[in-house]
């Protein structure tokens, strides 16, 4: 009897094994696993089946702008340069930058076979301009006088004011852009474009919608049969390798990592280093930008740090802001955030991405090293600590990490400097800024002094952890602080209304050599009183020379050599006046799983950044190839 049983068992096992070997693995949505790239999106959508980019509530990050949409100008994130996607090259403008001729690329077809022409571009831009229900409508009316079709592949744009940065503003620089060209032959027949769901979208990108979850958890995209005529096909001539792309919400952190380690997902958006390290330990196919420590890329163009609301005393006082900087020990901050990983980005506003570090931070090194702050009692203190990279390198090496000793590699990994830690200088500066210390407690204008420090809860670990670390350190230093966690909606409106004192906001950037788009929000003319909603200038930094520079920049072309000089001068002013204390550049742990797909962008093969959630993902897809069986 027992023999028979064991025989039966063996046979069943053999059969099921053979079955597994022969039957092709399928995904839960019924596509062959080896032809399907599964990628994560962060939040399930409440509006399944809604793909119209001009209806509010459409989730663009759910594969919509990464796979379906073509942009006027796309971004080469490695070079930091734009290229025309629908546009053929860059606009040709007249001498005062009010009239612009944009050529349209020939050969792109919509997914229903109709040619994409100037008609579609003109229609889309005018539709935005003329439909008040579309968010960008008001802005388009401010900027554009007219958008007209010259011939099938030429558009003439007239702006109200000189506008030298048409491609930068209406093409992609970071993430994506509001201008997504839609087919005229469909959208012109729709009665109200702001309520049209567009469940079976006709698109110019390389994929179309195959099916979607009515409960909003996933969308399945299929490569166009005529992908050669999609924007990606026409621009590169390369075929996106994955026949299907399944975009999916994965749930909470523990579910996400279990799905990844069990190969049920190929690329994820962003995890914490703790999650990445445990996943790597369980599954050798999982990697991130670097295959070993520090894993993360530091090239995301939004540096994180702490931001001051400068319409209020004493936060409007430069001495006070430097005092806060001296009270913070960056060596502790960096350990608290991501265990020491990340390139320091020790200047306000501009992020130390690799490109920006070469272009701006290294030339500013001398200036930073010699910058001294007057402490008000006849002494001065050095503002920067230029030995940070070496010191943190030694520390992490002592913890058993594999850290290079080469100075250039260290600077690339940890940055050129960090803000100096000097508690005595901090005390003196606080006194200089008008605070008093009695019995170990600080008073300002006779009242006990307390700082409200707010951060965005549940998302953006880097920013949140940084602010909590700062809270921790300022309390230990002796300043009374209150920690305020906020949800996303109150977060945005509190910024705009100026309802904060110190916040973990990140009004930073830096991707192109021309700094105008990063700094134009710091125009002092945009400042509105606290409690009112302005556009830009949440931190209300009032600096006359900085504003002049912004106004000068607005009038010159981004290619003018003067743009770089002005940008440099602006940065020196910002460094000296410290409206923001930068911690790290955007540090992103973006995991990939090479069980089914390989050749993801990485440090060894940096053909692009690991930005699946940006619109340039459709170009990355032409390089991701199936793994050998």
């Amino acid at each position: 009897m027992r023999k028979l049983l064991s025989l039966l068992l063996a046979v069943t096992m053999l059969v099921s094994l053979m079955g597994a070997a022969f039957a092709e693995e399928m995904t839960e949505v019924g596509t062959p696993r080896r032809e399907t790239l599964i990628m994560e999106t962060q939040i399930p959508t409440d509006t399944p089946g809604q793909f119209n980019p001009y209806m509010q509530g459409t989730s663009m990050g759910f594969g919509n702008h990464q796979l379906l949409r073509a942009m006027m100008w796309e971004m080469d994130t490695v070079k930091g340069e734009q290229f025309g996607e629908i546009a053929d090259g860059f606009p040709e403008s007249n001498a005062d930058f009010t009239e612009h001729i944009v050529k349209i690329r020939q050969g792109i077809k919509w997914s229903d076979g109709v040619d994409l022409t100037a008609k579609d571009v003109v229609f889309t831009m005018n539709m935005i301009k003329d439909t008040p229900g579309i968010g960008a409508s008001a802005y388009y009316n401010v900027v554009f006088k007219s958008i007209e079709q010259v011939d099938d592949y030429t558009v003439k744009i007239v702006t109200n004011e000189p506008f030298p940065r048409l491609a930068l503003r209406f093409g992609v620089t970071i993430w994506g852009n509001d201008l997504r060209v839609v087919p005229e032959h469909i959208y012109s027949k729709v009665e109200d474009v702001t309520t049209f769901k567009d469940s079976e979208p006709v698109v110019a990108g390389p994929y179309t919608v195959k099916s979607y979850d009515p409960l909003g958890n996933w969308v399945l995209y299929e490569r166009r049969e005529d992908w050669q005529y999609s924007s990606v096909g026409v621009v590169t001539g390369k075929m996106p390798q994955a026949k299907y792309v399944l975009v999916k919400a994965l749930g909470d952190d523990s579910t996400r990592q279990m799905m990844m380690t069990s190969n049920q997902v190929d690329i994820m958006v962003e995890v914490t280093p703790e999650v990445l390290e445990t996943m790597k330990a369980q599954n050798p196919n999982i990697a991130a930008w670097y295959s070993d420590f520090p894993y993360a890329t530091s090239d995301d163009p939004c540096s994180k740090g702490i931001s001051f609301m400068m319409a209020k005393a004493p936060y409007n006082n430069r001495d006070f802001r430097w005092a806060i900087s001296f009270a913070l020990n960056f060596d502790e901050t960096t350990m608290d955030i991501f265990d020491g990983v990340g390139r320091a980005s020790p200047i306000p506003i501009l992020t130390a991405t690799s490109a920006m570090q070469e272009l701006y931070l290294k030339p500013l090194k001398e200036y930073m090293a010699s910058l001294e702050i007057d402490l008000g009692d006849g002494t001065t203190a050095k503002a920067y600590d230029m030995d940070y990279a070496k010191r943190i390198g030694d520390k992490l090496r002592a913890e058993g990490r594999d850290i290079p000793t080469d100075e250039a590699a260290l600077e690339d990994m940890f940055g050129i400097a960090c803000y100096a830690y000097n508690p005595e200088a901090a005390e003196k500066l606080l006194i200089k800024a008008g605070l008093e210390k009695k019995d170990g407690k600080w008073y300002f204008e006779g009242e006990p002094f307390k700082i409200n420090m707010s951060y965005l809860a549940n998302t953006e670990a880097q920013a949140g952890r940084g602010l909590i670390s700062a809270y921790n350190q300022l309390k230990q230093f002796g300043l009374d602080c209150n920690l305020v966690s906020e949800s996303s909606a109150t977060w945005d409106s509190n910024a705009a209304l100026g309802n904060y004192e110190i916040g973990g906001y990140w009004p930073t950037g830096g991707i192109t050599k021309d700094l105008y788009s990063v700094i134009n929000g710091y125009d002092a003319d945009l400042i509105v009183p606290v409690g009112e909603r302005g556009s830009g200038q949440a931190c209300r930094w009032n600096n006359a020379r900085a504003t002049e520079i912004i106004h000068e920049l607005a009038k010159i072309s981004p290619d003018d050599p003067k743009s770089y000089e002005l940008g440099m001068e602006f940065m020196k002013i910002a460094i000296d006046d410290i409206p923001f204390i930068g911690f790290h550049s955007g540090v992103k742990f973006v995991p990939t799983n090479s069980t089914y797909w390989t050749n993801y962008p990485s440090a060894e093969n940096p053909y692009n950044g690991p930005w699946w959630w940006w619109s340039c993902f459709k170009y990355i897809l032409t390089e991701i190839t199936p793994a050998a069986k």
Binding site: E28, V29, G30, I43, P44, T45, D46, T47, Q50, Q56, G57, P132, G135, A136, A138, Y139, V142, D178, T194, T195, S211, D213, P214, L215, G216, N217, W218, A249, L250, G251, D252, S254, T255, M258, M259, S262, Q264, N458, T459, S487, S488, A489, T490, D492, S493, A495, A496, L497, R533, S535
Partner: protein, 332 residues
């Protein structure tokens, strides 16, 4: 006649319960300084960049109407009762603007009801059966062990039970999906299969925690009943133990448990929320969680209103069934 009065009274209580609960959640958000319209404008602005002042004023006005914030507090309250309670219209979802929140909730609510009702009922039946045995045979070793297990599982937090089940059965053993994906695109058979697979672990985790409580309470109830005079009398009369258990002890203790079941539905719903979040089960709990993350107040308000209505209605149904089980009820 008496029954009709009982029925009417219960119906009035039901309506009042909903009214009080809904009034309560209408006034809570208005006690806090957060203004949903300002938040909404903030989100629209951060998405689309510049906006001129007139545009903003127009937007603010139209949002105030849509959010039901126009007019005096009293008018707002009446409008809210009228729209929210009678038409389940809670205004647009903030995140999925302009899709109405009620429409989104309607998609997810059936899944929550399905999951929590099934697991609550199962927990009640299994728990009471075990509890009855344990209580009736109080001094048997097996009943002590069962009770011990129940005492140990009952206080474990919901999310923890869910997480452990997920790690063991979905991740290590791979018997069930890690994530509750329900295949609503395929045929009926595929749909039911995926529904079963997706619901099994969430239901099991609620079952484990729920059962513990019923075992404990049923045991002490039936143990007390078993000591009552009429049971002792039945023993003297030489009735079989099994019959005593079934007809005397059970029938008397089960009545208390039915009332308790009706009272426990609210608590079961709390558990459902936590379980749904861990398993990303497509129900109202997960919706609430997402709405919190994105501060979608209309959605939160809608979810809570609907859950209050659903729970009070379930309680009402349990109350109305009660007289059919216990004819002795005095309809009070």
């Amino acid at each position: 006649m008496k029954f009709r009065k009982y029925f009417g009274l219960r119906l009035v209580t039901w309506a009042l319960t909903i009214l009080i609960g809904v009034t309560f959640i209408f006034f809570i958000p208005r006690m806090f300084p957060t203004d949903p319209v300002e938040n909404m404008i903030g989100q629209i602005q951060s998405r689309s960049g510049q906006m001129d002042p007139q545009e903003m004023a127009a937007l603010r006005k139209s949002l105030r109407v849509q959010f039901g914030l126009e007019g005096s507090l009293w008018e707002q309250y009446l409008a809210y009762l009228w729209r929210g309670l009678l038409h389940f219209d809670f205004g647009p979802s903030l995140v999925s603007f302009p899709t109405p929140a009620g429409e989104i909730i309607a998609t997810y609510l059936p899944y929550t009801l399905f999951l929590s009702l099934i697991s609550t009922l199962l927990a009640w039946i299994i728990g009471n059966a075990i509890g009855l045995l344990a209580g009736f045979r109080k001094n048997k070793r097996s009943s002590k062990i069962l009770e011990g297990i129940a005492i140990c599982i009952y206080p474990v937090p919901y999310f923890l039970v869910a997480l452990i089940l997920q790690i063991v059965f979905a991740y290590l053993l791979g018997w069930f999906p890690l994530q509750s994906n329900i295949n609503a695109m395929g045929g009926t058979a595929a749909y039911l299969r995926s529904l079963f697979r997706a619901s099994f672990l969430p239901a099991l985790s609620q079952l484990l925690v729920g059962t513990g409580w019923w075992i404990i309470s049923m045991k002490s109830l039936s143990a007390a009943t078993a000591e009552e005079d009429f049971v002792q009398y039945a023993r003297f009369r030489g009735l079989a133990e099994r019959r005593i258990g079934a007809s005397y002890v059970m029938r008397n203790s089960i009545l208390t448990q039915i009332t308790a079941l009706a009272m426990s539905l609210g608590g079961a719903f709390n558990g459902a929320i936590m379980t749904e979040i861990i398993f990303s089960y497509p129900g109202v709990g997960a919706l609430i969680q997402k709405a919190i993350l994105q501060s979608d107040y209309n959605m939160i308000l809608g979810c809570i209103t609907i859950s209050i209505v659903a729970i009070s209605t379930a309680t009402l149904i349990a109350d109305l069934i009660y007289p059919f089980i216990d004819p002795r009820i005095r309809y009070s």
